[in-house]
Symmetry: none
Amino acid sequence: MLAATALPAPPQDRKNRILDAAERCFARHGFHKSTMQDVAAECAMSPGNLYRYFSSKDDLVAGLAERDRERFMCDITVITAATDPRSAFEALGRLHLVETPVEKAVLMMELWAESARNPRIGAICRAMDHEVHGIMTAFVAQWRRLEGMSSPTPPDQVASLMMILGDGLFRQRASAPDFNAEAAFRLIYPIVLNAIGVPQSSPPEVP
Amino acid sequence: MLAATALPAPPQDRKNRILDAAERCFARHGFHKSTMQDVAAECAMSPGNLYRYFSSKDDLVAGLAERDRERFMCDITVITAATDPRSAFEALGRLHLVETPVEKAVLMMELWAESARNPRIGAICRAMDHEVHGIMTAFVAQWRRLEGMSSPTPPDQVASLMMILGDGLFRQRASAPDFNAEAAFRLIYPIVLNAIGVPQSSPPEVP
Amino acid sequence: MLAATALPAPPQDRKNRILDAAERCFARHGFHKSTMQDVAAECAMSPGNLYRYFSSKDDLVAGLAERDRERFMCDITVITAATDPRSAFEALGRLHLVETPVEKAVLMMELWAESARNPRIGAICRAMDHEVHGIMTAFVAQWRRLEGMSSPTPPDQVASLMMILGDGLFRQRASAPDFNAEAAFRLIYPIVLNAIGVPQSSPPEVP
Amino acid sequence: MLAATALPAPPQDRKNRILDAAERCFARHGFHKSTMQDVAAECAMSPGNLYRYFSSKDDLVAGLAERDRERFMCDITVITAATDPRSAFEALGRLHLVETPVEKAVLMMELWAESARNPRIGAICRAMDHEVHGIMTAFVAQWRRLEGMSSPTPPDQVASLMMILGDGLFRQRASAPDFNAEAAFRLIYPIVLNAIGVPQSSPPEVP
DNA sequence: GATGAATGAGATTTCATTCAT
DNA sequence: TATGAATGAAATCTCATTCAT
């Protein structure tokens, strides 16, 4: 904000600019077919300069995975504080599963594949899974307590179910360009609500 | 049948030997970190010889994807002819989701990522998805007719649900080395049965 | 001719069949872009069998050069015994420079390039040049003696001139697909006759 | 002009340094037996760096052919503006046919062979032939007009004759290491002068 | 004699990374 | 800080040649 700090350009901004560029490149051509030159060109920097912010190509991918994780955790955490769990939950589901651009889904396949080889990516993915699982477990338990609901499926299993459904939906989106995410969401959403124990006024009608 | 005629070595056997080796390599280090030298060493052949059977590295991956597709289609097709749909369905689910070695799941992530870049892999994956969806839709419809069951979810949506759950479970297995596939299967199986319309004697008990 | 010798197929025939195939391949794609597999396929033999007749690819090219040399020497030698030098000379010129298919010219460029690297090809080419030069020198001297002609250019220089003109014409044919060899021949032929000392009834008319 | 600005190294200089090295390599071992490593070593660069200036090995050869064409066109064009056609013509002939190092002739065989396979080289060679033919035709016509000479051979045919003789002489030089270019030049030069229509004081004496 | 599957050295090309400026 | 030319290791793929049958 101050003139004095405007010139040297905050390093975090640079990092983000690079990560944005990398994200675009990787979504377009995949991680392995994108070169550091490509990324440099995409963010209008010199190749050498990337190495001032990320120590290697792997570090760049890890940085991307890490930023995604942070952002997603940010999104997800808000529901724990929501006064209306149901609408907050649905909003989060829609945001994550329907509104997210398909490129993110494609990128996620890349990350899932990488996570089996690259220990750092693996650690980030597992950490995210672990956190998400914990948050959703707590969220389900809290929601049930709040509204006096019950269900034969314990909260941690509901959380597992959510993650399986979410990941499956992501994969379908990544795979089929014409996949109807909205329809799929309407298909799985009631199943999750049911597992949580939310009483559903009417069975989903399919005309 | 005679030893004398066995010598020229059937080409399909060679192809399969190479594909087996490639599968092991790719499962270990991923497609992009495995070299043709690695694959050659793994099947005790010379690098040049691989090119007699597969015209390029990409062709090798496509061959692997294609073989997987064929095998899976083989497995899945039997259920359409099953006299006892329920046990055949459960057997197929267990076979595919629980008994399949984790390496296959890891390999599948690789393939999913590839399918967004490599048109041939993409085509194979989409073809498989399409076939599986068709078979499962028909299977659900047939089962319902056979046993006079009904459900608000139309067969094609049930098929979509199965695929979402199956893919999600695969991804969880690939990601977490200690993921309990059996428990996850017990979690999602009743949901699918319910969507199909199979009457369930008792709610799934979780001890 | 005898039934007994017909079966094992005379080796020289085999060699020639291979050389014919090689000639077609080399004319089409050049020496360096033709593989031994290509040549084998072209003469419907197995690659390994080529090595029973030629010890290496280089040996095959040398064989081709050698056969060409022999054939050309055969053609050229007849003029020394011709009763009518003039018509024999013109016939030879037309045969070599106009009637020879363009592919031969293209092949010759290949050989000229090779002869600078491959000592054996070099030796064959130089031997041929030497022989041709000797024969033409003798032929010019003999012709002059026979018809009592004279010219300021000594026979060996006339021979040099013939070779320069012949090679130059070959190169033009090889280079330009629509090169008019007949017109070029009519352009250079009187020049050679003149150098030999043949009295020319009328200057070449160009309508 | 300042030392400080000289550092980024002008790309054209780099290209020329590479072309010089390639020329040496190709003259020594031929195009097909020279590797990019060889060329890189010859110009004291890394192999990868060559690809910053030439996109492929073929591109490098094409670059060489193109540079040769430009240089030769430069040499040849000056005669059209010469005040004394005769001495300019002789000087050009000597420069091109006698003073040019033999390596160039050897290289030219390589290029002639290449031009039949490599469309780009073919195009460059044909373009050069076309230009040379046009310039020499115009030159002969202009010379005749200037000095009121005449000859039964039309200018374009004289140009063809020059090219045939020139190419033939090149091939002889390339083939025989001890070929006497000077003697050959003295042999063909009067023939060309005669075809142009230049009155020759005395027939060439051969002692 | 003949086959053709197999070999493996070697060539072209790419690209993550460095470093002089 | 930033640049971008340069590096050089490594990967894919080719093909002359061999050899068991």
